[in-house]
């Protein structure tokens, strides 16, 4: 390529960037940078046909209190426009939304589709924004968790950092919508607004604390455009995590000891009779864990035995929930049928709910942080 042509390409590329300046003439809603109020967290709830949109701008760079607003309307875009009307000076800017919180009322029926449609049609929103399902109302999470020094975005940020430290990112709207459409279900991160009994979070005194609550299964019935949510228990969530990904950094308790799972691996296989019939599912799991805090007089062997028993329980509870729901959100079918004997034919949907599932866990206690260990 000649130098002249290269220069021409650079010139055209540079000139095209300037075309963004047309926005002022073409878009009546143009605002200067200093009048933009970037929205960082969006919460969505529903009451009948009404959508409630809550937004939080996050704490400003100068420590200014976050702007928190809520509006109800027949649609999300209308609610966003209503919020904008209430803020004539500043333009609410949705291009850098970090989290979308869905209250449980926003998941039922076809409401999740309305969220997807809004994000797709809004040029500012992104499909890879993390999506978190809230047990209760998202509005309460957005506006109620306004403490003295922190807000919902910071709390969600800390939740995300913890998750990232465990080698796992937050599920995004793109992943959730894709899985829901493709497979009829999606595993989402669940959060709840109040701490478990027995815990004493000081933040709760200033408002509402938003804390992780395992996983939620969003599912859509075959042939119907409606979805519902199943909240998985902590044990089921842990079992689902072990079965669907490599778990690293998760903190668990086994017996009286606190452990950190350093590495996990799962192998799923089918049990086949001589005539090629599927008679069961066998889950083999290997765990390496570190001791965070040893409980009582437990030695490594005792901790290992307790962990193996607990982990087997998590796996079986998750599988049992999947079977009870008739929804293979653990991906057992693909794993079992991948190694099916030649000529085997399985009507998975029919046999899955009653298929015997067994699990065997081999745990190993690796490096620990407990000086007494």
């Amino acid at each position: 390529m000649t130098v002249k042509r290269l220069l021409l390409i650079l010139y055209v590329a540079g000139a095209s960037l300037l075309l963004g300046g047309c926005r002022g003439q073409l878009a009546s809603g143009h605002r200067d940078m200093e009048h933009l109020r970037p929205v960082q967290t969006v919460g969505l709830d529903a009451e009948g046909e009404t959508v409630i949109l809550s937004v939080s701008s996050g704490i400003g760079p100068d420590g200014a209190a976050p702007l928190v607003m809520t509006a109800a309307a027949s649609g999300i875009e209308t609610a966003a426009a209503r919020l904008q009307d209430w803020s004539p000076e500043d333009e609410l800017f949705f291009a850098h939304v970090r989290y979308i919180l869905l209250g449980e009322s926003m998941v039922g029926g076809d409401r999740i589709d309305r969220v997807l449609d809004w994000v797709e049609r809004s040029p500012a929103m992104r499909m890879d924004t993390p999506l978190i399902l809230v047990k209760g109302r998202a509005e309460e999470a957005v506006s109620g968790s306004l403490g003295e020094a922190t807000d919902v975005t910071e709390r969600l940020g800390s939740l995300e950092r913890e998750r990232v430290s465990q080698g796992e990112s937050l599920p995004t709207l793109r992943q959730t919508a894709g899985s829901l459409l493709e497979r009829g279900w999606a595993l989402c991160l669940a959060a709840e607004l109040y701490p478990d009994e027995g815990t004493n979070l000081t933040e709760a005194e200033n408002g509402v604390a938003i804390v992780p609550a395992g996983l939620a299964l969003l599912r859509r019935e075959e042939g119907r455009d409606v979805a519902d949510t199943v909240w998985l228990t902590k044990n089921e969530s842990m079992g689902a995590a072990l079965l669907t990904r490599t778990v690293t950094g998760a903190k668990v308790t086994a017996g009286d000891s606190a452990l950190e799972i350093l590495r996990s691996g799962v192998r799923i296989s089918g049990l086949w009779s001589g005539d090629g019939a599927l008679t069961g599912v066998y889950i083999r799991c290997r765990l390496t864990a570190g001791v965070l805090e040893r409980g009582g007089e437990e030695d490594d062997d005792a901790v290992t035995a307790v962990l193996e028993e607990a982990a087997a329980g998590w796996l079986l509870e998750a599988a049992a929930r999947a079977q009870a729901l008739g929804c293979d959100f653990l991906g057992l079918e693909d794993a079992v049928l991948k190694n099916a004997p030649r000529g085997a034919s399985v009507a998975w949907d029919e046999v899955f709910p009653t298929l015997p599932v067994t699990a065997a866990v081999t745990a190993e206690i690796g490096s620990g942080y407990d000086l007494a260990g």
Partner: protein, 376 residues
Amino acid sequence: MTKDDHLTERQFAAAVFTALLSPMMRVLPRATAILAGKWAWLSVLPAVPVLLALAALMASLRRSMAPGEGSAQLFLRVFGRVLGRVLLAVYAAWFLFYAGFILRSGADRLTATVYPHGGPGPFVAVMLGLSLLAALGTLRAAGRTAAVFRGLLLAVLAAVFLLSVPNMEPENLLPLRLGDSRGVLAGALPIVTVGGAAGLFSFLRGYTPPAGRDAMRLLIPPLALFTAAAAALDIVTVGAFGAKLTARLSYPFFTMIRDLSVAGTAQRFEAAVIVLWVFADFTMCTLLLRCGHEALRAVFSLPGAEEGGRTLLQMKNGRWLLWAEAAAAGACALLLPSAAESFRPWMESLVPLAMDLAVFGGFPLLWLVGRLRKKL
């Protein structure tokens, strides 16, 4: 026709590829995902033999063209002066309608993705004005410009594909089950329709050097580039969204760009990428105006557009036709339904069907009748 009027083979290929990027982004990821599901990214495989067959047909027609002749002259030679003129008038009408459709769909893409408060009017007017200016100039200039645009758009495509890899999820592409493979043939249809549109530009073959025996060989590299781009587009889009979500989005490729980030330090550059696709629309419109002019020139037995002089406002020798064509294309763009729900059937059914008729109906018929009447 002067030497300046001529396009080199490389410039012609660059212009055609750049023009095809416009319908490719509008049609492909969504249409192939609807028809082929998870197999969408393999739909390019059955499309290749069909496009090769079309390329062989177009090469055969090209070998029958005398120097300075394009498809318009072949239509007159094969079908006679009456039927030939009728067919050329139909082709001219299609070129102008399709130019209007490209203007309008380009404007819709911008209003749907970057300028939600803008109407299509300003975008249509600006693009039409630029395309008319280019059409009034020499094809050589248009070809050289297209070569620059092709390099730029290919670089952007490569960067977007590379940055999209982290967003891809293997389970969206694999495993594939044979039971679901029936759609893969149907998924090839939109690829064939978009790629086949290149055949229309044979109306401009009078401006490229004769190819003789090399006619087919010269078509292979552009065809390979087109199929590679189409396959990459389907792989990254379906890989990121899954087939069903891709099928549900209006502009999956441009929606995907919103999610891109350069190592977490730079993001939200979709507006720049989307605006760059104006270059593809511009090239497509310019070529369509010139193709329409070639068809009408043959109908009215007028000299070439570049034989009337270079002055912009020079109207003699049929150059006024280019202004009339631009007005007709602009009118088509503004008369198309304004509501997205009404415009969608035009994008998804009527226009692809008409394109298939123009390419896979018209050119095989031309070749067949020409052979039977020993005119080729």
